[in-house]
Amino acid sequence: MLNVVDLTKSFTAPDGGRVEIVRVPQFQIAAGEQRALRGESGSGKTTFLHLIAGILAADGGRAEIDGVDMAALPEAKRDRLRAEKLGYIFQTFNLLQGYTVLENVLLGMSFGPRGVDRAHAIEMLGRVGLAHRLRHFPRQLSTGQQQRVAVARALANRPKLVLADEPTGNLDRRSSKDALALIREVCRENCAALLLVSHDDGVLAQFDGIQDFARINDARKGAAV
């Protein structure tokens, strides 16, 4: 499902020099597989997810999703591939504050291949326990509820690969456990691969075969963060 080969990304530092953030020689996830990466803040894991999602253009290497190399595509095609294949749960939710809960989910669907499916959007929001909050705006919800909207939005499009960046970082232990269970369950139902990055041992403990991001990212090996 996901095949990363020699993926690199560097940024310009304040002193004008280049700082390499990501250099991942090899990383794979099979369809339906659920993987967790442990990484501390500043380790480059969000940048890695952005490169896979095509939000950032890679400097080099490949990030193949379902056989299509995201890193080699021009921006417009990256946008399309992202909308068709990916669901992204952001650490900071990234909900659209001026839109209702339902509209947030519908908008996420509208860019995908299946288009808007109102009934499915409502069903997804029902599954995250927000059926009674469809017309609420994000600011009218608790942090945990906002997180659940973000989960529903990322999964409503039936993506083939779900990227989850600290998806439970803002939740208490119980809500965190529930949200994670939901993400994993929906991914299983859709045969979607899940790549989750977190520094929370409680979250990571629920996955088998956790990898340290620092061990697959040559750019930051041994770097203090």
Binding site: S43, H50, E75, R82, L96, G98, L107
Partner: protein, 401 residues
């Protein structure tokens, strides 16, 4: 659903600036349409009103003053003509109809014009349209103290058939200068949408012999309204009266004199139009500024949309479409301003001149102006749209770990 939803939500989120900007566009659009329509309609109305007569004969003086006085019942008469002059022109073989008028009195500000009954029976005030009286009315008798009142004057003066009145001396109303004679209203004219509507018509002898008027001028007329048998005859009369004579003036052709008047005051139209164009430009600029200033607040939303899979072109289109929507909203509201302004201006013009503007008349400017305004706003929206197009997604969606 996506694009309309994005536009709708964005307009809602910035409701105040949307309203203010749309308001300024409405003002610009309303002003532009009003200036244009008042200019076009008043010019057309004044020129068409003057089609009933080919020429006006009066004392030596300004042709424009003669036309304004004789046909539009504005301005004072430049002087009098002897009855013999009227008889001379009436009997001239080139003249089809000659209607004498005498002015000098008013009824509470509404001009009293003395004339002959033939004005109502023979003359068409517009092609195919003769003066008509409202039910129960009749034209005054030449020798009686009777009056026929124009529809607008009757409405304002609250006059009906059988009512009586005493005229006031002079063209401006002064309640101390009231004549002794009493006239009886015998008829109310049906509306003609011409200056005749604001006139109180009495027999010409009534004005000529009114108490207090100079007895030596008891047979004089203020002007003679002329219909010619053939248009070319006007040039012959013009030569005879204006160029070879030095006692009278023939204002001919009436339409050309009015067109000349509008030509002279066209600078005023141009200034008004320039002001309206400037307002339109400022309004389009305010759309640009309003959306541009809100871009920093919107950038996160735009980055999120991009992260969800929205294409750059779609984001660009959404911002341009939003600007166009603000323009269209303003243009639509501009019609409200247009109708309000036009109704006010039309009422003033009607009260002052008797010329009626058609507030609901159609004109190419009524769709062209809103269309151009909307397009201008869309153009203004292209600048912030470019900024939206260039929104860096990853950086805007920080934090990065």
């Amino acid at each position: 659903m996506t694009l309309p939803l994005i536009i709708y939500r964005s307009l809602r989120q910035h409701a105040l600036s949307t309203l203010i900007t749309a308001g300024s566009i409405a003002l610009a659009c309303g002003l532009l349409m009003t200036v244009w329509m008042v200019k076009t309609q008043s010019q057309a109305a004044f020129v068409s009103t003057s089609t009933a007569f080919d020429a006006v004969l009066g004392a030596r003086g300004s042709k424009l003053q003669l036309v304004l006085n004789g046909i539009f019942h504005l301005e004072a008469s430049p002087g009098n003509l002897a009855w013999a002059d009227y008889e001379f022109i009436r009997k001239h073989p080139a003249v089809k109809t000659a209607i004498p008028i005498a002015v000098g009195d008013n009824l509470r500000g509404y001009r009293i014009v003395g004339t002959v009954p033939e004005l109502f029976s023979k003359v068409e005030y517009a092609p195919g349209k003769k003066y008509e009286l409202r039910a129960g009315g009749k034209i005054f008798t030449d020798s009686a103290r009777e009056a026929v009142v124009g529809s607008f004057a009757a409405e304002r003066l609250k006059l009906k058939i059988g009512d009586t009145f005493q005229p006031f001396h002079g063209l401006a109303f002064d309640e101390k200068n009231q004549h002794e004679e009493t006239f009886t209203v015998t008829g109310i004219l049906a509306p003609t949408n011409t200056p005749a509507d604001k006139v109180v018509w009495i027999p010409i002898k009534g004005v000529q012999t009114m108490s207090g008027h100079d007895p030596k001028a008891a047979t004089d007329v203020s002007a003679v309204l002329i219909q010619l048998r053939a248009a070319t005859a006007g040039f012959m009369l013009d030569m005879m009266i204006n160029k070879q004579g030095n006692r009278m003036t023939l204002a001919y052709p009436v339409g050309a004199i009015m067109t000349e008047l509008f030509g002279k005051i066209s600078w005023f139209d141009r200034v008004l139009a320039l002001v309206a164009y400037l307002v339109a430009l400022v309004a389009a600029g305010s759309v640009l500024a309003s959306i541009y200033n809100s871009m920093s607040a919107r950038q996160r939303d735009l980055a999120i949309l991009r992260a969800l899979g929205a294409r750059r072109r779609m984001i660009f289109g959404a911002v341009v479409a939003e600007a166009a929507c603000i323009g269209a909203l303003g243009a639509a509201a501009g019609f409200g301003i247009y109708f309000a302004l036009m109704a006010g201006v039309a009422e003033v013009i009607r009260a002052q001149t008797g010329v009626v503007l058609n507030v609901t008349a159609g004109h190419v400017v009524l769709w062209l102006c809103p269309l151009v305004m909307t397009a201008l706003c869309a153009l203004g929206g292209a600048v912030p749209a470019l900024k939206a197009y260039r929104t860096p997604v990853a950086e805007t969606l920080a934090p990065v770990s």
